[in-house]
Symmetry: C2
Subunit: 411 residues, 2 copies
């Protein structure tokens, strides 16, 4: 998508993702669909690498998702592989799609001396076109795996993304420093339900799959599951957390071990950073929007109300038009199907209270709202006045560019 404008929220540079003990990788041009760019990434974890993951809750998942769900539960003595291609999602491609998954896994298993059934596969791109696995398999034997290459990996898995997405953090477990590296892709069809398009986080920490899975489950709610670009939940969402075990810290048997406090913080930081990069690269974005909900009857209710506002086309177009149209926010709160009382609802944009007690706030001036809405980053705050439930969700506006990208391009 060389003619696509870079998101105004793209980071100035790709962050430093240092080599991680226990992991090697490579990318290649397999020519699945795109020409002149990489579209294949192979990540190898050393024997004993533990893998946790969450996948799309869409009821029509892709063949790679079916395969990878099973592969999570396979124990193996050999290396642990992740194979990702862009250009086709290999979703709803019937037997040809299932055959392609098997051929890819077996081809990789032979070259990289891994167990096929333990390999994590992911494909991203157009739905309904089977992957030509031979294009990937042909590359495997030509690839040399290195400890470095995270930015190249982030580029290889892009589709409509306007820039590669990465994040890194370090944490202490006991006295030992471990590192987490994460990459992600995603720009449209983003309303993750358990995970987003594709995101991979690797660490040299020495943690079991059970601990990793618990950590991941606890963090996915306030990060990937709190962003939405267009309310459309992908068929391919995958978030993996891999741990090579190369770090020599103390033994950890539970996700709630106090020694993991700093690691939990670092994992949250990486997941949050990646999920923010995805929504900030939302298709056609001109404004980044944070919606903070408080006073709901529960956190879950607050989340659904926030998502109802974040997904409302009328709210999103008003923001694109720099219109502090809080009437549409009232509408979106009221249609969420959650407890709400008109006369207890308060609404702010940035520092300005717009509405309270079932009417426009006496102190509010339209000129204040108009000035605030010219900012690139908009914060909407809602208080339901009913209870203690809160949530924060993140979205973007709905612009002409979203229509251009999705009416003119089969993604």
């Amino acid at each position: 998508m060389s003619d696509m404008k870079i998101s105004p929220f793209a980071p100035e540079y790709f962050p430093t993702l240092p080599p991680l003990a226990g992991f090697t990788m490579a990318t290649a041009e397999a020519g699945v669909k795109y020409k002149g760019r990489t579209d294949l990434w192979v990540l190898q974890g050393q024997p004993g690498t533990q893998v946790a993951g969450v996948f799309t809750q869409n009821m029509c998942p892709g063949a790679p998702i079916d395969w990878s769900r099973k592969a999570l539960r396979i124990a193996t003595d050999g290396p642990r592989l992740v194979i990702v291609n862009s250009g086709t999602a290999n979703v709803f491609a019937g037997q040809a799609g299932r055959d392609a998954v098997l051929e890819t896994a077996e081809g990789a298993a032979t070259v990289f001396e891994a167990e096929a059934t333990s390999i994590q596969l992911a494909s991203t791109g157009v739905i309904g076109v089977a992957l030509d696995a031979s294009k990937l398999v042909d590359q495997f034997s030509k690839m040399t795996l290195h400890a470095d290459g995270w930015e190249a990996a982030a580029r290889a898995i892009m589709t409509t993304d306007t820039h590669p997405k990465g994040a890194s953090a370090t944490a202490k477990i006991g006295g030992t420093t471990v590192t987490l590296n994460g990459i992600a892709k995603g720009s449209g069809m983003i309303a993750p339900d358990m995970a987003t398009m594709l995101a991979y986080v690797a660490t040299d920490a020495n943690l079991s799959q059970a601990v990793l899975q618990d950590l991941l489950n606890a963090q996915v709610g306030p990060t990937f599951n709190s962003i939405t670009v267009d309310s459309d939940t992908s068929t391919s969402d995958t978030l993996l957390l891999l741990a090579s075990g190369a770090a020599a810290h103390q033994n950890i048997s539970h996700a709630d071990d106090p020694a993991l406090a700093d690691f939990r913080r670092a994992l949250h930081d990486v997941l949050f950073d990646l999920s923010q990069q995805i929504v900030k690269d939302g298709e056609g974005i001109s404004k980044f929007v944070t919606i903070k909900v408080s006073g709901a009857i529960s956190d879950a209710s607050a989340h659904r109300i926030g998502m109802s506002v974040a997904n409302s086309p009328l709210v999103k177009t008003a923001i694109a038009g720099e219109d502090a149209n809080w009437g549409r926010i009232v509408m979106a709160v009221g249609k969420a199907g959650e407890p709400a009382e008109r006369d207890k609802l308060s609404i702010w944009i940035g520092p300005h209270v717009l509405a309270e007690g079932g009417q426009p706030a006496a102190s509010y001036k339209e000129t204040d709202g108009a000035a605030y809405m010219k900012q690139d980053e908009i914060v909407i705050r809602l208080d339901l006045g009913l209870g203690e439930g809160g949530a924060v969700v993140y979205t973007c506006d709905l612009t002409h560019s979203y229509i251009d990208i999705n009416a003119d391009y089969r993604s």
Copy 2:
């Protein structure tokens, strides 16, 4: 909205709505917001007129909705009034909004010799601005009610509508012919939940409120509740059915009386016609889309799956781009949260089967799909292959004009 393009699906002319025994009406220019056009409609039913209604399920309804819900249950010996203004929705306007409702009802009650508490009120336009009731009350004493004027009424209640919407039908009850006239408005913020923006159906039939309400409840599902423009449920949705009782047919005590068969058919026809006119005047529409769902586990499940497809921005932009992108339809089926099995799902556009058995149909040619998508009216058919549940929903595409209308105009 004089600069707004007329919907390509607008009827060529407004249908003939004949005078109805027992009803008189008038319109006026009250100057609530618009200049040089009517914005006020008064409808009067003779003493004994029965009224049934359904209102928005939005949890933040307008003050006129609160008032009118109560007014439905008031019995009165005097005439029955409906007062509608455009230009402001009088929603979320606090005490000033409630005061405006009372002032309007009391003003009308004095002039038209009705009981204030039995008057049906509705306001449509921007949210968050209180109605200046004096502008309406000033007009009441200047208005002369006539038996004719349905088209003028349909024009007076328009906001972003590009044309007035009306429908008429006759039905036999026993040997007596009765007439039903209906008008409606609505173009954006259309995802009715019990009713749509504003719709009024009047008849000279002699039916009790209980019978009218049962008839209305039975018909609102497959008509107004089966359309969506933008997934946003208004705070002002109102659908009223009024019967003057002027016709001299036999006594009817139940909605399921066999003598009402033809009336039920006529009521369905009028409601269906009006609801179709609303979605076909959807903001920015370039294509009208019918989504037929079969094989779901229940009718309710089929309806939710149809709505998930109808509200998907990615499906709607693909249709705008004339792209038979059935992969996005698969995605939207799968995200609906309803039972679905990828490998049992079949998808057609028009006569062409696109996908079946979890893969693209062998017979499908992209050129067939591309040719079909150039049509103005698109039919998408889905079979879940799970059960007997079915539903049909109606929507429009998502175009640049929708963004123009809603990013540039505070509606």
